[in-house]
Amino acid sequence: MKEERKLSSLDVGECGLVIRLLADGSMRRRLLDVGIAPGTSVACVGKSPFGDPRAYLVRGCEIAIRRKDAEGIIIE
């Protein structure tokens, strides 16, 4: 069984598969809208100067997500 991690734990160059989203309400909607849903593969492709937010490659698009929000995305 693959271990579960948070998206925020991904370092640059690592990738994972989204299992579930902890967020609800408008943030959940936002994540779903940009294509981050259970079954999506995401890869961390960059960090901003302070390390937060980080850039993730989702379905061919680069999306920047804050650490706080990335902690609510469970991957494996």
């Binding site: 294509g35 960059g46 901003s48 100067p49 390390g51 850039a55 920047a64 804050r66």
Partner: protein, 705 residues
Amino acid sequence: MGSVKLLKREKANPRENKISVALAGNPNVGKSTLFNSLTGMHRHTGNWAGKTVSVATCDIVWEKKVYSVADIPGTYSLLSHSHEEEVARNYICFGGADVTVVVCDATSLEHSLGLVLQILEVTDRVIVCVNLIDEAERAGIKIDTDALSRALGVPVVPTVARKKGTLKRFLSELDCYSEKKEASTRYSIGYPEKIKYAAYMVEKELLSYETGGVSRFWVALRLIEGDADMNSEIFSNLGIDSCDKEISDAVARAREYLFSSGIDAEGYKDAVVGAIIGDAEAIAKSVTEVNSCDPRRKQRQIDRILTGRLTAFPVMILLLGLVLWITMSLANYPSEALSRLFTYLEGKIVLLFELCNAPDILTEALIYGVYRTLSRVVAVMLPPMAIFFPMFTLLEDSGYLPRVAYNLDRPFAACGACGKQALTMCMGLGCNAVGICGARIIDSKRERLLAILTNSFIPCNGRLPMLVSIIGVGFIIFIGRVPSALLAAALLGFILLSIGGTFLVTLILSKTILAGERSSFTIELPPYRRPEVVRVIFRSLTSRVFSVLCRAVSVAAPMGLIIFVLSSIQIGGASLINHASDFLDPVGRIMGLDGAILLAFILGLPANEIVIPILVMIYTAGGALGADISVSGMADIFINNGWTLMTAVSVAIFSLFHWPCSTSIITVYKETKSKKYTALAALLPTAFGFIICVALNFCFTLFKM
């Protein structure tokens, strides 16, 4: 057979039927570029979500038919909730367009197809445009548009929106399509069986309603979801009776059915979106061929420099300095030329007035009052703006600006705001009113207010020349000359100070009046694109010139008249202006300024460009704004009136932090519709400037002793 070059905006024959075309798509896919190319309109396009916040429409004529094309704001999904995306959703679902064109980005087709599938659910009159084909090719991505068309059941056209030549195929497709009357066999999303069954339950009850082309299945899905906003839109736009018991019963039964199958409200939304995303992924994969192992490698290399830990900030500061330096140094020549032109014209106008035997008072009021003020504003403000905004737009179109928001998000989040505020500040550097409007790109209301209220802390193009002159005077007082390198460094230093002030006040506000939840922040980092330099320059020039002239006339001209009146009316041997300046003197002195300076700032409310000319006028006891003078001439006059280095520093600081110009204040009201926040926007920088100047002056006096 027409050619794209013949495309023009003709006055539509009112008897002809217009075919309405809606341009929809994700943000950053080139919808607005397509719109511009089709309509020849030079509307400004931006490179981040939320730039187009109203729906622009334009008529075009092609092959004897009139099309009314609407450029809809970019949206990621029809189920979104931010304000701009709701506008888009309502237009797409309920706008009743004859043809909906969905624009996709060929470099991230999977991402774009989600919206295509959603729109196909609503209406079958769809044409898909796979845009940025050239960029995809460069990245080694090949899209089989014919296969995509077969899979989706609607026409699919490859385009390069900014190259008009490639639009021919699109237009012929549009032409054929508008003729077709029968429905095409379009794609239907593979929802889980249980959800489909639940939707059929509700769809049955909707059969008695005429929904005007909107799919009843789609309506059923939405009713089960139960989003209040969406429901009210559906009821009001599609003429469905919200009290229809049969429908509400069916919805309740459907939900019960789903619940008993283990699908609750959240699970339903997830399943619906999951099905759409899954299908989009499958279709995209089946029609895309990737020839390179990493299509975004080059972008990542650039990003390593522009967003890297050690290089991001130096690059940003360097770029800021570069933009400032280019703006200020290039603007000098046209400014001087304009000044000379206006002075020359003034002489001619005076002659004209004399010829007409106009009364002296009229000549003086109109020419020395209104005309001089107008010409000063235009000469000082126009050249920097005409240089700054094209540069800003180039940075924007290239895709760099979202990186700025990305880099600065952490510091802004620490102050309770978000990285997009940095972008409004960049706009404010050109014109504070533009920056205030630009706050619309921020989703959260609270953070938008933070950006609006603090925008005036950043000096605009109107204040930059004033700042440069004051710094110059300061150098002359201090060392007798103006070394241009140090001047540039000092200017950058003051700008950084104003940025620091913005952060500080943002922090204070978010701990006090505007305290609240930190919003979630996502921003798309679009691929870097080569901006079209010529088009950007032309577009910026024409739009900026027009807006500056409008503002000058409407705002500065009346002030010119007021200044003339104040300086002409004499009471007890001195003009009203001199009286006012004496009255303000005590307040000015504790700030390290004097009454004349304070008065000049007050009278400069409509336009900061006239602050220094007014000051010179007061000092020289002139009856009107004088001709343009050099920095050394200014320094002589100021020194004669008691200026010290400290005065120059205080004036420079006050020019950063004082009440916003009248246009900005009005814009704040228009954007917030709140008198309270408008007053706050005016008071904040004033109070800040006052406190700093008083404190500085206090320390200085203490130090001198």
